[in-house]
């Protein structure tokens, strides 16, 4: 088992915002090209802010901690702010990730961004 920071272990043990949102405003699904794992983010948007963020993750301990952290970081942020969440920021907030697990933090930020893009394209596309 890789050596994880206390913060990673804490988020892994008590992940925040696990689940799905019914009728979400955006869904982002991302596969991990390195190990083949998967993350799905759901967002609810109100007045240009991420009112609710939930996730589901199939992956390692780091992937679960990353998704939990991303959801926490994104919640309450404006769309523009949330789009600025980078894998590096996520890893920093988690007090670092083992080198071979850094790719898992890409997965989190990408899945969130995809959910936002999904929301934006739906908004452009019409009423719902």
């Amino acid at each position: 088992m890789p050596v994880y920071s206390a913060k990673v272990m804490e988020h892994f043990t008590n992940p925040r915002n696990v689940g799905e949102i019914e009728n979400p405003d955006g869904i982002g699904e991302e596969g991990n090209p390195v190990c083949g794992d998967m993350m799905t983010f759901y967002i609810k948007v109100k007045d240009n802010r991420l009112d609710d963020v939930k996730f589901k993750t199939f992956g390692c301990g780091a992937a679960i901690a990353v998704s939990s952290m991303v959801s926490e970081m994104a919640k309450g942020k404006t769309i523009e702010e949330a789009l600025k969440i980078t894998p590096q920021l996520v890893a920093d907030e988690l007090e670092g990730l083992p080198k071979q697990k850094f790719h898992c933090s890409n997965l989190g930020a990408q899945a969130l961004h995809k959910a936002i893009e999904d929301y934006l394209s739906k908004k452009k596309g019409g009423t719902h």
């Binding site: 088992m1 892994f12 043990t13 992940p15 696990v18 689940g19 799905e20 699904e29 390195v34 190990c35 083949g36 794992d37 998967m38 993350m39 799905t40 589901k56 993750t57 199939f58 992956g59 390692c60 301990g61 992937a63 679960i64 071979q100 790719h103």
Partner: protein, 395 residues
Amino acid sequence: MKVYFDNAATTPLLPEVRDAMLPFLGEAFGNPSSLHDWGDAARMDVDKAREQVARLIGATKPEEVIFTSCGTESNNFAIKGIALAQQSKGKHIIISAVEHFSVLHSARTMEKLGFELTLVPVDKYGVVDPDDIRKNIRKDTILVSVMHANGEVGTIEPIKEIGKITRENNIVFHTDAVATAGYIPIDVKELGVDALSLAGSQFYGPKGSGALWMRRGVRIMPLLDGGTQEGGRRAGTENVPAIVGLGKAAELAMADMAARAEHLTFLRDRLLNEMPSKVDHVVVTGHPTNRVPWNASFTVEFIEGESMLMMLNAKGVAVSSGSACTSKALKASHVLIAMCLSHELSQGSLLFGIGIDNKPEDVDYVLEEMPPIVDRLRQMSPLYSKFVKASKGGK
């Protein structure tokens, strides 16, 4: 509660083995090659260990046992040393697709040096078909290596049948017996092998101990050149404490084999039979019955091995996994892939390496702790929610 179920990684040192080793970490420090009392004392015990190891594998000539530093060295030595010594006859090597990396990567190295390599496939249980060996034999085939049993999934391979084929064709046959030595009876003559690897750290001996048995007459090129230790086949001052420990572990394994096997098989079968009834969507990997007594391996659908390991560890349980996320290379176990498990299934791999110290209560505890862990992870898994939705939609 603390439960060590990772005897696939390594076994603890038996107190009797440690006691046998202790003098050689103290006053009995002599070099077995030296011509005085100190040397004699060490040499006598090295020779005794050689006999003990020979007996464990049914070898009649102790001098056919070469001590090494571990199973990996034994396998490297066998593949590279035999291939190099036989290359005037040909340069084709056959191994199975589920060999340990120390065999597989050694064979790959020989490929880089101009040898040709054929990997024979396995069926869904991980079993090699001897016919596939036969079909792949060529005029220039010089070495076949198939493991006695696979440590990751426990499956025992048809070594005797393969041995018949290699003998008919006059090809050197090596088997990696790291997963079986000390656990099931081994008779090198009956198996029809020419070389066999084993490791002390897998059957209650010390780490840093191993052996390669080589039938007399089989040529091998040393990997370590120097003095004439080990009959000139492996130079270097003997690691006397480790060798003595390996010998003692072999003697104890030989004496207790039936009782140990009965105990391990009982615990193994409880895990294999009861886990799938406690947890939905669990598949036993490896052969259902023809497997080593200490191995119970599964894949748990829709979730990943490392996260299971971490949750089990938080409950005091040590196991291992062949998932991509648990490997440093981030690749799914080549063994599971060779058995045609999907990538998703191989991600849920879980391996219980049962030890002689484990008790029925350990199995009870694990069977009790597993369902809530699997449940929690499935609640987080997008694959599981997809599966649930699809099966609901189907109704």
